[in-house]
Structure formats: C-alpha cells, structure tokens
C-alpha cells in the first residue's frame, strides 16, 4: 500500500522518468491535482488539449500538464506530450508523490497461532486471522475483517474494512423437518494482486474450492458465493451477488447490482450490464443486460 506524500520534483525529472520531452520552462512540481482545480506547482493530466482549464491555469503558477499534444507556446503552463496521459500521470504520481505505508500488525488485531504471514503483511485494528490462513507478501487487511477457515491469500492483495473471507456458508438442505447445513470442507484460494472492497464477503466452498484469480478487483458490498470461481483480471462492481458455484471467466466486467444465479457460467471477456439478473450462461465476449439478462451485443468474429 502506498500513500500520498508531499515532495518536490522538477518537471524535467518527471519528463526524464517518463522518457518524454518537456515543453516549456522547467518548474517544481509538489504533487498531483485534478485538472479542473490546479494549484501552484502541481501536475495535472488531460486526455484532450482542448480540455485544458486555461482560465484556472492563468490564476496559478508553475503547472505541469500531461496531455496528448504539447501545449502551444504562450500557454500558462509547461507540458509533457504523451499518448497515454492518464497512465503516465499515475506512473509519475506513484514514483514521486507516494510512499509505501510501513507494514503493521495492529496490537488489536488477532492472529491465531498457526497462521502463516508473508513479509510486510499488514493486519489493521480489529481484524481476525484464523489458524489455517496463509497470507502472501505485502498484502494489507484493513480494519475489522474476518479471515477464517482454510484460506490462502496471494501477494499484494488488499482486503478493505469489514470484509469476511471464509466463515460459515449459506447452503442448507431441508430434511427431517429442518434445514441441515451441508458439509463445509472447501477452501478459499485468492491469487496475487486481488482487491476486495469494504463489506465484501467470500464464502468458502462446500465441497469444492472458491477460487479468485490473480488481479481480480472486487468493489464494496459484493458477495461471492460458495465454490464460485472468478478468472484472472475480472472486475465485479459494487452490490453484486454471485450465488453458489458461479464461474466468471477472465477479463469479465460485472457492473453494479448484478445477480448471478447459482452454477451459471460467465465466459471470458463478457460484460454484464447494470442491475442484470443472470439466469443463463453468458457466451464468450457477449454483453448482457436486463432482468432476465439478454444478450444485447455479441463479440464480432
């Protein structure tokens, strides 16, 4: 985890780091700003030179702009031309204006004996890590999380506050006049660089494992049901629910407030639109939307 850090760097140093040319006078940059709200000695980016906030720039001194073309001479700022302003902006901010947050196990976190923690793992106040949990290097578990059961979390993962990874699963059969809980022997396996928003829950598998691939990003308030599999680099936005044993392929995009019925398959590269209720499998590369979800676009070719 990194945090913003007040530094001072010359625009020429930023240009050299990005291997781009600086147009206009060299200047000192203290940190990043939103394009519409520049302050003195800041760095902003715009995706289009026409979006340059000229009147705001006239009221500020020493602004560096990352944009697709050099800012014309006489403009009230200096610029670095790049085909990818946002990506280079992020790179420069990470290099010069953030610092790693020192890892810490908060004295009020509970780490059970037997848990295996990698290097630079942070577990913040109020979180619980059970005895059968393994956590990779540089992973951060924010406040008040519960990680329990047979869980393996990869390196550089982030679990935001109040999330539950593991714990009991919601899977019952009605027998002899009462709901009986199914056996719970599955594990949870989370790949490197996965990210979970606040108040998210991931259930362990009943008989099979719940598997979250590397690079998966899960927004706040998402539930991933028992035995589900989410492929590499997929995104699941806020408020979505994956019922039991759902399979999501790689590089899928699940929009906010999507519900996916148990055991359905969302194939690689597909998009599930806002609020969709998925009751049938989604083909590879398709875009589906609505209740019930229907295909509104198929991948060409």
């Amino acid at each position: 985890m990194r945090k913003i850090f007040l530094n001072s760097v010359l625009a020429s140093e930023i240009a050299a780091f990005l291997k781009r040319k600086l147009h206009g006078a060299d200047l000192a940059v203290y940190g990043p700003c939103a394009a519409g709200q520049p302050t003195d000695n800041c760095m902003i980016y715009v995706e289009d030179v026409r979006a340059l906030p000229v009147s705001a720039l006239k009221k500020t001194a020493d602004v560096l702009v990352l944009c697709p073309r050099p800012v014309p001479r006489g403009a009230p700022c200096s610029s670095i031309a790049t085909p990818t302003p946002k990506i280079h902006f992020i790179d420069a901010v990470n290099k010069f204006f953030t610092r790693p947050i020192a890892a810490q196990i908060h004295p009020r976190a509970v780490i059970e004996e037997g848990a295996k923690l990698g290097r630079n793992v942070s577990v913040l106040a109020g979180s619980y890590v059970g005895p059968d949990v393994e956590i990779g290097d540089d992973t951060t578990i924010f406040q008040n999380c519960v990680v329990t059961g047979r869980v393996r979390i990869g390196a550089r993962c982030v679990i935001k506050a109040n999330s539950t990874i593991g714990s009991e699963i919601f899977d019952f059969v009605y027998e002899d006049g009462a709901w009986q809980q199914v056996p719970q022997v599955g594990r949870i396996i989370i790949g490197d660089d996965a990210w979970f928003g606040a108040n998210s829950t991931i259930e362990k598998g009943a008989l099979t494992d719940t598997v979250i691939g590397p690079g998966v990003k899960v927004d706040d308030l998402v539930q991933i049901g028992s035995g589900s599999i989410v492929g590499k680099d997929s995104i699941i936005a806020s408020g979505s629910v994956l019922c039991r044993e759902v399979t999501v392929g790689t590089r899928c995009w699940i929009a906010p407030h999507v519900s996916i019925l148990e055991r359905r398959r969302i194939h690689d590269g597909s998009v599930v639109g806002l609020g969709a209720v998925v009751i049938a499998d989604v083909p590879k590369g398709a875009t589906v939307a609505g209740n019930p979800a229907r295909t509104i676009r198929r991948r060409k070719g």
């Binding site: 007040l6 530094n7 001072s8 760097v9 000192a28 610092r99």
Partner: protein, 376 residues
C-alpha cells in the same frame, strides 16, 4: 536558496506565508513593523532593478570551490572547509527570500547518479580522513524528502566517515505543514549519523504556533537546531527585535549561531545595513547586561574566501569604494591542500605570513529599505 528562471528571481510565497501576511495586516495594519518584517523578506521590490550597489554579485562568494572526481566535475558539490562538504540536492525552495545567496542559480536538481558519485567521493581516500560532516543545502532540502532519503542511503553505503548530516532549511517558517510524519521518519532513518538543522528566522513574528510546532517536531529527530539570522534593514536592525528573537530561540532551544551581515547580492542593497551598524547592535546585545549571554550570536560576514566573524579590530581599513578590509586567519596553503583547484579571488590578499586579508563591500544605513510607493 532558490532557482532563477532566465536570471529572473521571481517572487514566490507559500499559501501559508500569504495567510500570515493577511493575518498580520488584519491585526497590525500594513505600516506595522510586524507586517513589514515579513513583507520585506518576500515581496519583490522595484528597488531590486536599480543596480546601484557597488561590488554586487550574482554568487555569494567568488572562489573556485567545485570538485573533480574520477576526472569529471561533481555537480552540486562544493568544498570550502576542512571538515565539511556541501551538497545542494535542489535549488527549489518553498518561498524566495529576496536577498537569497543562490537566487541567480538556475533551477536544477541532482540526479541519483550525481548523488551516488558525490557519496563515493566523500568516502574516498584521502578525503575521508578529513570529512566528518556534510552540509545539505540548496534550495531547501526539506522540499525534496525523497531525494534526501536517497542521499542518506548513499552516504551510509559509501561514506560512513560522515557522522553528521547538517540540513539548511526555512521550511518551518515558510511551509510548516511539510514537516510531516513522513519527513520525520526519513530524518530519523539517518541514524547512526546525526541530524543537525540549520535554520534562519529573522523576526519574532515568523515564530507562529505552526512554526514552533514544526521546530519542536524537528527537535525530535535532530540533536541540534541552530539559527543564522540575516541582519536586514527594516526587519530586524533594532535591539528590540533582535533581543525578542533571541529570547524566543532561547525558549525553543534553538542555538543562536550567526547573525549574518547581508551579502551584497545583485539588486539587494536596500536590505543591507552598514557593517558598523551590526557591530553596534552586537555591542548592545552582548555588552549591556540586558541580555542572556547564553543567547548571543556571532556577528559574521561572508567574504570571498569564507566566513569572517567580526569583532572590533577585525576591520583594518576602508577604501574609497566603501569596501572594508578584514583580517582573517584563512591561509592560502590550507585552501590549496583541501582543494588544489582553489584560486584566490581578487578581493583577497595574503600578508607576509600567508594569512589572507579580504575586501568586503560595506552596506549603507541611509537610504530606504523599500521604494516609497510600495509602502504597505
């Protein structure tokens, strides 16, 4: 201590300084000594464009002090004294003090390669036998904490002979918010080397609660904070202001080190008093019984060959160009031994023992400290 763009030394203030000026104006008015004490330090004056002063210069001393290492010059490194080397990681400052010694230096920052070479030089034979401390100045090193951290890492790796990292900064009185936990963490990580902070406060009104808090925080990581006030016409050329200032330092644990006579930088004659005025003030401070002897600074001028502390008897004579000849204990052979490329400037002349005497341009007590129409 700041970078010029195309030889224009721009006016530059922080949001914090602007807020302080508004506060002082609201509390005391634009004509008050408190408001002017701050405004004169940072507001660009039309008087700066009148190149009237004699002997004014673009650099604060005219010696050749740059160093060659491995056949190439070391960027941003100067050596004038035996025990100490000076490194300037950046010329960026939070705000521009108008009389800045390095106001005419171009905007630049040292690259990581430059820093690695400088650290290697500091730890190389035979330099390492003499060098015990490094003065990290600029610019303001606390403006570039990331670079500062890199300097520390490199010095630790290549020059363990350096035991004291001395940092020159005005950040606590210009942008105290920058004295953050992150910055303190970086300074703390310099151990086992020790951190010493050299600062400059010129008027008690600069010591706001925020500035005091910043100095207190720096004292958690520094073994000493010392001050080098500059004697500035209209700001602190009175016994009352100086004694209040040094009382405050005493309370804050800041050592009063130098009271500098203002250097004859280009366009800055209006900030300068005469050398004699400073001597009178020093005598009032030190020889009147009105002031704690523990709080007395050394009154010093920066000449072409280095610093000379002034006492009665140090000034040998005065010429028709209003320069004063100062007796020093600097010796040509010492300079040559420390840095073979050193050349005596025209203002310095050795006496028959090889001890240097140096001509230093005097200032004037008459004449305004600001242009009539810019009265605030």
């Amino acid at each position: 201590m700041a970078g010029a763009k195309a030889a224009v030394f721009r006016e530059k203030l922080t949001g914090y300084l602007r807020a302080q000026l508004s506060r002082l104006e609201a509390a005391h008015g634009r004509d008050s000594a408190e408001y002017r004490a701050l405004a004169l330090q940072y507001a660009k004056s039309p008087l700066e464009d009148r190149h009237a002063g004699r002997g004014e210069r673009e650099r604060h001393y005219e010696s050749e002090v740059h160093i060659h290492y491995d056949g190439k010059p070391l960027r941003g490194v100067e050596r004038l004294y035996r025990r100490t080397i000076l490194i300037e990681p950046t010329t960026v400052c939070a705000a521009h003090c108008r009389w800045c010694l390095r106001g005419q230096y171009p905007l630049f920052s040292l690259s990581e390669d430059d820093i690695v070479r400088a650290a290697r030089y500091c730890g190389s034979a035979p330099v390492r036998d003499d060098l015990r401390e490094i003065l990290i100045t600029g610019g303001d090193p606390l403006m570039v904490p990331q670079r500062l951290e890199f300097i520390f890492t490199q010095l630790r790796a290549h020059a363990p002979n350096i035991l004291i990292y001395r940092i020159g900064t005005r950040v606590p009185v210009q942008d105290p918010e920058r004295v953050s936990k992150d910055l303190l963490g970086i300074l703390r990580a310099a151990a086992p080397a020790k951190i010493e902070i050299g600062t400059q406060v010129n008027h008690p009104s600069e010591l706001t609660p925020e500035a005091r808090q910043a100095y207190a925080a720096l004292y958690e990581v520094a073994f000493k904070i010392y001050d080098q006030t500059v004697l500035l016409k209209g700001v602190n050329d009175s016994v009352d202001v100086l004694s209040r200032l040094y009382d405050d330092f005493r309370y804050m644990g800041i050592e009063a080190h130098y009271l500098f006579h203002c250097i004859p930088m280009k366009g800055m004659a209006h900030h300068r008093t005469s050398v004699r005025r400073g001597l009178e003030l020093m005598q009032d401070l030190t020889s009147s019984g009105a002031f704690s002897g523990r709080a007395k600074p050394m009154y010093t001028v920066m000449t072409d060959i280095g610093k000379v502390s002034l006492y009665h008897g140090v000034i040998l004579e005065r010429n028709e160009d209003d320069e004063v000849l100062l007796q020093t204990r600097y010796r040509v052979e010492d300079f040559k031994r420390r840095n073979p490329s050193w050349k005596a400037p025209a203002s310095a002349q050795p006496d028959k023992d090889g001890t240097l005497r140096v001509w230093y341009p005097d200032g004037a007590d008459d004449g305004p400290a600001e242009a009539a129409h810019e009265k605030r």
